[in-house]
């Protein structure tokens, strides 16, 4: 059953790498935006909220195309990043990670925002009376109390990134070894006569990975909750 071709293994490894990198890189931005949306009151807040949620409602192909005309080699921003920082997204695995990160971002922000909104802010007042300035209050009170939501958000983003297809293939194409993730590999195999058997193996693998990710997040979030409520 699991005599996968090297190319398929490459796709599995690449998927895991892309999903992990996109989740980790998106996390600080996710926390910042979630805090802003949960607590900030500023002009354009609902606009920001809408923009963050865009990838959730737009057809992935549209998101992918928007990425292409923003971060492509010939696009102004893409060219600038390539020339000045050596960061190239188009047709690279980094581009796949960018696409996955953006597609997963709304899910991450939602989960973190909910947990930030659930925090009893009076605990932060208590920290202030005990001598904690706002940074220390954030590190020692806000962040730990938001941890269940942060874990849930990371796992959702990871799972979403593993499943990402449309935006990725539009933005960085389907290059084996560089941008061909599990989804893209399955798609390719299905197009080829006699490829169904290999496709099915990859399907099973992606099922296993996603299931494990969700179970792990459930377990971690439960542990974090138990910590908060005194076990």
């Amino acid at each position: 059953m699991f005599d996968l071709s090297p190319q398929d293994w490459t796709a599995v490894a690449l998927s895991l790498r892309v999903a992990a990198v996109s989740t980790v890189v998106a996390l600080p931005f996710g926390i910042a935006i979630a805090l802003l949306l949960a607590r900030g009151s500023f002009w354009g807040k609902s606009l920001l909220d809408a923009v963050v949620h865009m990838p959730l409602v737009l057809p992935p192909v549209v998101t992918g195309y928007l990425l292409l005309i923003t971060f492509g080699r010939k696009a102004p921003l893409g060219a600038f990043l390539a020339d000045h920082f050596g960061i190239v997204f188009s047709f690279r695995w980094t581009g796949a990670a960018l696409a996955c990160g953006i597609m997963a971002f709304p899910l991450m922000v939602r989960a973190i925002r909910l947990s930030v909104e659930a925090i009893d802010r009076r605990l932060e007042d208590a920290a202030a009376t005990l001598g904690a300035n706002s940074s220390w209050t954030f590190i020692t009170v806000t962040l730990p109390l938001a941890l269940p939501g942060i874990i849930a958000g990371m796992m959702l983003a990871f799972a979403r990134a593993l499943g990402e297809f449309g935006a990725t293939i539009t933005f960085v194409s389907n290059i084996p070894g560089e941008t061909q993730t599990i989804s893209a590999a399955i798609y390719t195999l299905i197009q080829v006569p006699g490829g169904d058997a290999d496709a099915l193996k990859l399907v099973v693998i992606s099922l296993v990975i996603c299931f494990a990710a969700l179970l792990a997040s459930e377990w971690l979030a439960r542990r974090a909750m138990a910590r908060l409520h005194g076990a």
């Binding site: 605990l123 208590a126 009376t129 730990p144 005194g230």
Partner: protein, 244 residues
Amino acid sequence: MAGTTRNGAPPRGLIMLVVQVEKKLGDAFFLKASFTSASRATALFGASGAGKTSVINMVAGLLKPDRGRIELDGEVLFDEAERIDLPAFRRRIGYVFQEGRLFPHLSVRRNLEYGRWMTGQKEDGKALSHVVEMLDIGHLLDRRPGKLSGGERQRVAVGRALLMRPRLLLLDEPLASLDVARKRDILPYLERLRDDGQVPMIYVSHNPAEVKRIASRVVSLDAGNVVATGGPELLDAAHIDMLA
């Protein structure tokens, strides 16, 4: 030595708090309170909604007055005219909240040490064991706040506020969330704390019996105004003893 004063300062162990604040709270509620306090235990007394908690929140730096001045031991904490507003974390004023507000993700020991840690003070085993012993919370140190009873939680909250070595301790109805039996359990600890004499307290309560047991001076608030100040005998006239 107790009782002697130097330069008009209050006796040793006591510091002068000067509060003179105004704030509009809601459409029809205007808080305007002025009082000074230099006793070991001053009670802010009044019915619920009289503005007591708002006043001590202003002293703690959690609520900003519209106008006025707050001074502690000669240091200006707030002055609207001079645009001084020392942030809460720099005031070194301990606060025991009505609901404890212990950090649920930290053990009791870490809750107790939080203030020392945040104010950058050296570890002081003697201070810790003194407070732990006074409040009888030694057996709780490794537990989490979620597993404590209401009375235990309040004792830990008192200990947490004390261990940051505050210049002044504010207690906001620390017994209000407890049943009568628990209140009786905790009152002696608060008396011990007062007699320990290390830090002056402002004790907020609507309960005359509590105030009489704890406080040597009473500031009586009604509808946002200070209506009387004096000794505990102030309470004898009008109010019914709710605790006895």
